[in-house]
């Protein structure tokens, strides 16, 4: 590795080719079109090309690669969810994440830190215990820990939170990790590109043509493409895409904001999450604290940031870490989260032939990136390698009802293959009730 780096220092020109080709123009037709060049869209393209030999694919991106929620989240990867479906799905994703750097030959800065979800009340201790038991049952490394263990892992934290919300325990999830989030899109993108997939950035989809309930093409601002298959992986814009094909969904869009402090010496090793205080924080390799809170409380299709958010989050951060009072916030931003009522994703086939959906990941999309191998339906033929995923999806789907991926106890994948976005949804009520007492940690 060091020798390979040396050539970058010695060469007068950049010694490696660009990561992606930049195709000049769109072909008139493709076997499949993927809308959205984020982690999910590019992962689907990559696995279709690598495992299913389907390379005549265009990935269309309105902005730039990984510029949506892939590059706007707080980079946490974990699998300690509450429901069995959520646990199994995200555990598989975490497993895939772990060897992704090798597979891509690209440093994702995947860093396993351990993840504490703090409990400030008896009720949340009870929930943490429940989550720990569900996790352990499925072989996930997850346990309830006492305050002294938290203090040992994070000596800087004020466990009394200034006396307002003393910490009574935490759910500790050792595999909890952070990663350089946009790199996953770059890695999948490069892998797909090498195999012949075309990635078209700055290409906006204006319409999707459907004839007798079958996808026939996509209208873009750079011309029309005919294709029998479209995968829509556009978190935050899903309702607009669904509107183009006349589908309705339970999805609603709320902004999720985050911010970053100035860099400082490494002091925070674990990832700290507090549902009651609406804080999650980790320290990057660069020394910045990446912090997030809960969703903005009302619908908005915009990535604007607010001072209100910074004030609220900073106040809660100071309850946990009073010594940070002079640390400056250097950046803040927002992403548009596709929310479902029960926080489980909606993915799979739709009522329209050839239109596949990957949506409703709320704030949990990054963790699902590597899990986006649900290319199965899309390529139609051999599905050997991703079979387990397909099975997994199918299983979750039967049991569950929809809802996208935020961080409280989620259910898992919903595929509305045979139910038009709605059929199986009634069971969802039950899940929402179940979840009502659960604090949302991110």
């Amino acid at each position: 590795m060091p020798l390979r780096l040396l050539k970058f220092g010695l060469s007068s020109k950049h010694p490696e080719p660009r990561m992606f080709r930049q195709p000049d123009s769109l072909q008139p037709s493709y076997d499949a079109v993927i809308i959205g060049a984020g982690g999910h869209g590019l992962a689907a393209a990559y696995y279709l090309a690598r495992d299913h030999g389907m390379t005549n694919i265009a990935v269309l991106e309105k902005g730039y690669i990984g510029g949506g929620n892939t590059g706007r989240n707080t980079t946490i990867i974990r699998s300690n969810y509450l429901t069995p479906e959520g646990v199994k799905f995200y555990d598989e994703s975490v497993r895939l994440w772990q060897d992704l750097s090798q597979e891509f030959d690209l440093n994702l800065f995947y860093s396993t830190r351990g993840h504490f979800t703090l409990a400030h009340t008896d009720a949340s201790v009870r929930t943490m215990r429940w989550r720990a038991e569900v996790n352990k049952h499925y072989g996930i490394d997850s346990e309830l820990v006492e305050p002294d263990e938290i203090q040992k892992a994070c000596p800087h934290m004020d466990l009394s939170c200034g006396g307002h919300a003393p910490i009574m325990g935490a759910l500790y999830h050792a595999p909890g990790s952070i990663a350089r989030h946009d790199a996953v899109a770059w890695g999948y993108g490069r892998g797909a590109d090498l195999r012949g997939v075309e990635i078209h950035q700055q290409t906006e989809v204006l319409g999707i043509t459907v004839k007798s309930n079958q996808i026939t093409g996509v209208q873009t601002d750079r011309g029309h493409i005919s294709t029998p298959k479209v995968l829509c992986a556009v978190a935050g814009s899903t309702p607009r895409m669904l509107d183009m094909v006349g589908l309705r969904s339970p999805l609603y869009i709320h902004p999720l904001q985050a911010m970053v402090s100035e860099p400082m010496k490494a002091w925070l090793d674990p990832i700290i999450v507090s549902g009651s205080l609406h804080v999650y924080v980790s320290q990057t390799a660069r020394g910045e604290l990446v912090m997030g809170a809960s969703l903005d409380p009302y619908e908005l299709h915009s990535t604007r940031s607010t001072l209100d958010f910074v004030e609220g989050l900073a106040a809660h951060m100071l309850e946990l870490f009073p010594f940070l009072s002079h640390v400056k916030v250097v950046r803040q931003w927002a992403g548009m989260a596709d929310m479902t009522p029960d926080f489980a994703p909606i993915m799979g086939k739709t009522a329209i032939d050839g239109f596949y959906l990957d949506s409703g990941w709320g704030h949990l999309g990054l963790q699902g990136d590597s899990g986006s191998r649900k290319d199965d339906g899309l390529h139609g033929g051999k599905r050997s390698k991703s079979r387990s995923h397909q099975r997994f999806f199918a299983r979750s789907i039967q049991k569950l009802c929809p809802s996208r991926r935020k961080r409280c106890g989620f259910s898992g994948a919903l595929n509305y293959e045979n139910h038009d976005l709605s059929g199986e949804r009634r069971k969802a009520d039950f899940r929402i009730l179940l979840r009502r007492g659960i604090s949302i940690d991110a």
Partner: protein, 61 residues
């Protein structure tokens, strides 16, 4: 509201679960918490611009 006894499951499910999630000018209920006053707002959910606020009345609908 469709009559749950008269319509098929798909129509009813569509009514109960699905929503118009597309950005638009929408009429929403908001609450002014200090006075606990509920009022209506026409808001552009793309730009967050509030176009009109008004109290409920027959004409408002």
């Amino acid at each position: 509201m469709p009559d749950p006894k008269a319509v098929d499951d798909a129509t009813w499910a569509n009514y109960v679960f699905n929503r118009n999630g597309v950005a638009a000018i929408k009429q929403e209920w908001w609450c002014h918490t200090p006075s606990n006053t509920w009022f209506l707002v026409d808001r552009n959910t793309q730009t967050d611009e509030v176009l009109r606020t008004y109290l409920f009345s027959k004409e408002a609908l």
